[in-house]
C-alpha cells in the first residue's frame, strides 16, 4: 500500500522528495526566548515550566461537574477548563423552551451565580487557574466567576485564568453567536478593558483557531484567520483608547493540533513569528510581553474515529506531541471515546496520562524547540508564514475581518476546504485507519458516559427556588440599569456584575442585551 498524503501536506503544501539548504535560504533563527520567538517564547522552555495540563470538562449539573473537577485535580491535573452546555453558550436558562433536551448534554448547565458557586465549591479560586469556553455570554459568565471569587473572599488581583470571549470565530466557524458582530465586538472590548484595569492576571480573550480547524479549514487557514482575528481585537481595543502594551501581554491564543505532524509544528512556530512581527511593526508595541504569542492547544476532535476507537489514543498522542514540539503553553488531550459522547472518567484519565508520559518519560521537554534547523521543518514554517500572510493581506484589503465575515469570505474558504478533504477520504486518497483502510467488521462496543436526563429537571427546580428567594425588585432594577448602559457607551461590566450579584440569570441578562442589540442570523454559505 502506498503512503497517502506523501505529495502534499494536509494544507496542500507540496512536499519535496528531500530537503536541503536550498529550501531554507534567508532563514534567520534567533534563540528561543528571542524575538520573533519562532523557537518559543522562553529561553529555557519546558525546563523552566512544563505546559499546563488542562482537560476541558463539564457535563450535567454543576454538582456533577464539581465532582469531576475535584477528581481531575486529585489526579495531577494542573488547571481547570469549563465546558458549558448549549443553552448556556447561547444565553438561555435551563428552563427556556429551546433548552429542551440540551441541558447538561455538551457541558455543564449554568444559569446563575448560585450554579457558579456550586461549580467551584471546595476549589480555591485564588490558587487554581480556570479557563472558560464561552463566547457570546462571556461577560456574564466571567462576572459570575468573579462574583464567586468574591464570595470565597479571593481578591480579584489573585484570580488567574482565561476567558475564551472570541466572538469572531463564532461567525466564522462555530456559529454560537447571539448579537450582530459590532455590538458583540463592543462587549469583547468591554471585557478586555475591565480585565486590564481590575483583574490583571486574567487573560480576557483566547483567540481561537481550534474551532476554525474543526469546521474543516486547512492549517494555513486556521493560522491566518486566527491571527487576523487577533489584529481585529487589537484594533478595537486601541479604538477604545487603551494603550497597546497595557492589554496586549494578556491576549492569549488557542490552536488545534491535527494529524499532519510536521505541518502542525510548523504552524505553531510560524504563528509566534507572525504575531511578534505584527505587534511590533503594525501596532508599535514596545513591551516584549506584547510580542509573545502564548497559546493553549487541543488535539483534533474531528480526527477521532467512531471505528476502532482505541486507535484514537494513538492519534491523540501524536497530535499532543506535535503541540509540545510546537511549544504550546497548555494542552488538552482528547479522550478515545469522544466520537461517541463526552468522555468517561476512565477515558479522560488515559488522555491525561498521555500528557504525563510525554512530559515525564519521553525526554521531549528537555531541549527547547528540538526541531530547529531541520531543513524540512524550517522550510514548512517559512511556507506557512508566507501563505498565512497572503490571507491576512487579502482580509486587510476587504477592510478587516468584519467585512470579510459579512461577505462570507472565511466561511466559504472553510466550507470549500472541508468538502475537498471529505472527497479525499471518499476516494481513498487520504487514508483514515479503521474508516477507509484496515476496516474491521465486528467491533466490540466501548463503555460510555451517559448524561442523566434528570439534569434539566434539577436545574429548572433550582431556578424556580432561586427566583422565589432572591429580591426580584433588585434584579429588575439592575437589569434596567444594565439596559441603559448597553444603549449608551459605558463599559457594561460593572452593570453585569451588579445584576449577577443580585442573582439575575444568564438568560435574563442576555435578554437585556438582546433588546438593546438585536440578534444575528447568518446567510448560510454552502
Amino acid at each position: 500500500m502506498k503512503l497517502a498524503s506523501a505529495i502534499t501536506s494536509l494544507s496542500g503544501i507540496p512536499i519535496e522528495p528531500v530537503y536541503g539548504p536550498e529550501h531554507v535560504r534567508g532563514l534567520e533563527l534567533p534563540a528561543p526566548g528571542e524575538f520573533p520567538y519562532t523557537r518559543g517564547i522562553h529561553r529555557d522552555m519546558y525546563r523552566g515550566k512544563l505546559w499546563t495540563m488542562r482537560q476541558f470538562s463539564g457535563f450535567g449539573t454543576p454538582e456533577e461537574t464539581n465532582r469531576r473537577y475535584l477528581y481531575l485535580l486529585s489526579q495531577g491535573q494542573t488547571g481547570l477548563s469549563v465546558a458549558f452546555d448549549l443553552p448556556t453558550l447561547m444565553g438561555y436558562d435551563a428552563d427556556h423552551v429551546t433548552a429542551e433536551g440540551e441541558v447538561g448534554k455538551c457541558g455543564v448547565s449554568i444559569s446563575s451565580l448560585e450554579d457558579m458557586e456550586i461549580l467551584f465549591g471546595g476549589i480555591p479560586l485564588g490558587d487554581v487557574t480556570v479557563s472558560m469556553t464561552i463566547n457570546s455570554p462571556a461577560p456574564v459568565i466571567w462576572a459570575m466567576y468573579l462574583a464567586a471569587g468574591e464570595k470565597q473572599g479571593v481578591d480579584w488581583t489573585r484570580m488567574s485564568g482565561t476567558l475564551q470571549n472570541d466572538i469572531l470565530k463564532e461567525y466564522i466557524a462555530q456559529k454560537e453567536y447571539i448579537y450582530p458582530p459590532r455590538p458583540s465586538m463592543r462587549l469583547v472590548t468591554d471585557v478586555i478593558e475591565y480585565c486590564t484595569q481590575r483583574v490583571p492576571r486574567f487573560n480576557p480573550i483566547s483567540i481561537s483557531g481550534y474551532h476554525i480547524r474543526e469546521a474543516g479549514s486547512t492549517a494555513v487557514q486556521e493560522l491566518a484567520f486566527t491571527l487576523r482575528d487577533g489584529i481585529e481585537y487589537v484594533d478595537w481595543a486601541l479604538e477604545r483608547g487603551l494603550l497597546v502594551d497595557s492589554f496586549a501581554p494578556r491576549l492569549s491564543f488557542f490552536f488545534n493540533s491535527h494529524s499532519d505532524f510536521f505541518e502542525e509544528i510548523a504552524k505553531y512556530r510560524a504563528a509566534r513569528k507572525i504575531w511578534a512581527e505584527t505587534m511590533r511593526n503594525r501596532f508599535g508595541a514596545t513591551d516584549e510581553r506584547s510580542w509573545k504569542l502564548r497559546t493553549h492547544a487541543q488535539t483534533a476532535g474531528c480526527s477521532l474515529t467512531w471505528q476502532q476507537p482505541y486507535n484514537n489514543i494513538v492519534r491523540t498522542t501524536l497530535q499532543a506531541l506535535a503541540a509540545v514540539l510546537g511549544g504550546t503553553q497548555s494542552l488538552h488531550t482528547n479522550s478515545l471515546d469522544e466520537a461517541y459522547a463526552l468522555p468517561s472518567e476512565h477515558a479522560v484519565t488515559i488522555a491525561l496520562r498521555t500528557q504525563q508520559i510525554i512530559a515525564y518519560e519521553s525526554g521531549v521537554p528537555a531541549a527547547p524547540d528540538p526541531l530547529a534547523g531541520s531543513y524540512f521543518v524550517e522550510s514548512l514554517t517559512m511556507e506557512m508564514e508566507k501563505r498565512a500572510n497572503d490571507y491576512i493581506r487579502r482580509i486587510d484589503e476587504m477592510g478587516g475581518m468584519i467585512p470579510a465575515i459579512e461577505r462570507g469570505f472565511p466561511q466559504t474558504e472553510i466550507a470549500d476546504a472541508s468538502y475537498q478533504f471529505q472527497h479525499t477520504i471518499e476516494t481513498g486518497e487520504q487514508k483514515i485507519v479503521g474508516v477507509n483502510a484496515f476496516v474491521e467488521k465486528n467491533e466490540d462496543p466501548i463503555e460510555l458516559l451517559h448524561i442523566d436526563e434528570s439534569a434539566q429537571q434539577l436545574q429548572v427546580q433550582k431556578l424556580v427556588k432561586l427566583k422565589s428567594e432572591r429580591s426580584n425588585e433588585k434584579v429588575r432594577k439592575s437589569l434596567d440599569e444594565l439596559k441603559r448602559a448597553a444603549d449608551g457607551r459605558d463599559n457594561t461590566m460593572p452593570f453585569i456584575l451588579d445584576a449577577v450579584r443580585a442573582y439575575a440569570t444568564v438568560g435574563e441578562i442576555c435578554d437585556a442585551f438582546r433588546e438593546s442589540f438585536g440578534t444575528y442570523t447568518e446567510t448560510s454559505v454552502l
Binding site: 448549549l86 429551546t98 454560537e176 474543526e214
Partner: protein, 133 residues
C-alpha cells in the same frame, strides 16, 4: 418535468457545528439532487413547515449535541399530523446505537453515524426514494 429528488437538509437544536450538514448538502447536490439547506437552529415546527412548502421527498437532520431524543420524536409527530408520513427522514450525527434503534422504531428510515461515507448516504436516499415513488 424535473425528476430530481428534493431534499431538505436541516440543523435542529442549539448547536452550531454545521460542517457535516454542509458537506452532506453539497454531496447530495453534486449527486444531482435538489437540496434546500435551512441553516441553523431550526425548530421541529420550522423544519416540517419548510418541508411541506418545499414539497421535499427527503428530510435530512444533522444532530451532534445529544438532543436527538427530544427533537426527532417531535419532528415525526408533526409529520404524522400533517399527513406527510411518506417523507423519508434520515439522521446524521452522534447518535448512540441504542438511540438509533429507538429512532428507527419511530419511523426514521436511517441513522448515519460518524464515519459513514457520502456514497452510502447518497445510495440509500436514491434507492429508498425510488422504492416509494
Amino acid at each position: 418535468m424535473d425528476h430530481r429528488i428534493r431534499v431538505l437538509v436541516a440543523k435542529p437544536g442549539l448547536d452550531g457545528h454545521d460542517r457535516g450538514a454542509k458537506v452532506i448538502a453539497r454531496a447530495l447536490r453534486d449527486a444531482g439532487m435538489e437540496v434546500i439547506y435551512t441553516g441553523l437552529r431550526q425548530t421541529p415546527e420550522m423544519i416540517v413547515n419548510a418541508s411541506l412548502q418545499e414539497d421535499v421527498q427527503v428530510i435530512g437532520l444533522s444532530i451532534l449535541s445529544g438532543a436527538h431524543n427530544a427533537i426527532v420524536p417531535r419532528v415525526m409527530e408533526l409529520l404524522r399530523e400533517k399527513h406527510m408520513d411518506d417523507v423519508l427522514v434520515v439522521i446524521g450525527g452522534i447518535i448512540p446505537d441504542e438511540d438509533a434503534a429507538k429512532l428507527k422504531q419511530l419511523g426514521v428510515a436511517a441513522v448515519f453515524q460518524p464515519g459513514a461515507s457520502l456514497d452510502e448516504i447518497v445510495g440509500f436516499i436514491r434507492s429508498s426514494v425510488k422504492q416509494t415513488a
